[in-house]
């Protein structure tokens, strides 16, 4: 006698006997039983035994005693389902709220991280005065990328037009501004300096008041970048 003619249906045999198939599966299996002598003979051979297991109360109780009382079927909820419960309105789903929070925090994160990565240094500042002091102010490139040079002008009035030039040791102009306006009413000028345009060395800052056209209004300051 041969085996089952369709093992993919034949595997349902005991589930059929125990009546645990759905009505559709039962129909499919019974159609299979019409054709498959092997499965039909198998089913026929255990009718009384299976029936006793299904209907005889003491036997059923014996099975329960052996296997233990089944625990109530708790529906397992997947981890992700906590974040995206289908029955909750979209706006109240935790996953949606978390997504909104993350989107809102991205600009703040970018701002903070760029501040941290920019390695912010305090801006150096030096004051240049027309004194006979031998001490020349020094700017240190290793302490940051920028500096502010403050210089004091004598005889400055609000309508004056200033020409500012920074020259290196070789007399070549590194910075020039023919119409410098960064001077306040007290004659204190402020010049913002970006170090990457300067090499280490000695420099002179020359300020000419062109309106008055007088040599006495030419101011020269010295400073060093190291």
């Amino acid at each position: 006698m041969g085996g089952c003619i369709n093992p993919s249906l034949g595997k349902l045999l005991h589930a059929y006997e125990l009546k645990s198939l759905t009505p559709e599966e039962t129909d499919r299996f019974e159609l299979h039983l019409l054709e498959c002598d092997h499965c039909f003979n198998e089913v026929s051979s255990m009718v009384d035994e299976i029936g006793t297991m299904l209907y005889d109360e003491p036997t059923k109780q014996a099975i329960t005693d052996l296997a233990g009382q089944p625990l109530p079927s708790a529906e397992p909820v997947s981890f992700w389902r906590h974040f995206w419960p289908f029955r909750t309105p979209l706006l109240l789903r935790p996953g949606f709220i978390y997504a909104l929070l993350v989107i809102a925090l991205i600009p703040a994160y970018i701002g903070v991280s760029s501040l941290i990565t920019s390695k912010a240094h305090p801006i150096q500042s030096i004051g240049l005065y027309q004194t006979r002091s031998v001490e020349i102010p020094i700017l240190d490139k290793s302490r940051g990328s920028d500096a502010v040079i403050n210089f004091l002008l004598d005889n400055f009035s609000r309508n004056d037009i200033l020409s500012v030039t920074i020259k290196g040791n070789d007399g070549r102009a590194v910075y020039a501004n023919e119409n410098f306006t960064g001077v306040d009413d007290q004659g204190i000028g402020r010049l913002y300096l970006e170090f990457d345009r300067f090499k280490a060395g000695s420099y002179t800052l020359e300020v000419i008041n062109r309106k008055q056209q007088s040599p006495a209004d030419r101011s020269v300051f010295e400073f060093t970048i190291k």
């Binding site: 006997e17 054709e35 009384d48 297991m53 209907y55 014996a62 089944p70």
Partner: protein
Amino acid sequence: MTQVLTMHELYEKAMAGDSEAEKQLFERLLVRFKHFAKQHMQGEDADDVAQEACLTILSKYKEQAYEKSFEAWAHGVLKMKIGNHFQHLAGRRKNIAGAEDVENLTDNKRFEDGLDLKRRLRSCLKKINQHHPRYLRALNLVQHGYTTDEICRMMRVKPNYFYVILNRGRKMLKECLKQGGM
């Protein structure tokens, strides 16, 4: 040695006018139908319904235009007869007593006897539980009315493996019963 024809081959021969094939076809159908009917109802009623279904099929199968196959149609006829039987019983019960569930009509009293079988069964189930406890667990859950999907979730197995567990347990049970439950 005689060649065993399939049901479809018997049907085709019967359609061609082979009366011997027709006889074999309906004998085979009747045996199977009796079994199917017994899955749903008590012994004598099951035989009656199976015979009635076979008679209907015999009287109509030659004129029938089948949507799927002869087997599917014949199986459908049996299902219809079983349904009619329950409708009839439910109506009668309503008229006489009312109230009780139709399902109770399928209570299978014939399995309440057979002390020797029960003893052997219990002994075998106990033995199987020692070697293949998952079968007893599956059996227990089936008896408590859980569906296949629920059982698979509770036992953390896929349906295919659930069927493997059942069939393996059944094989052990059959073997054990053959040896007298020893």
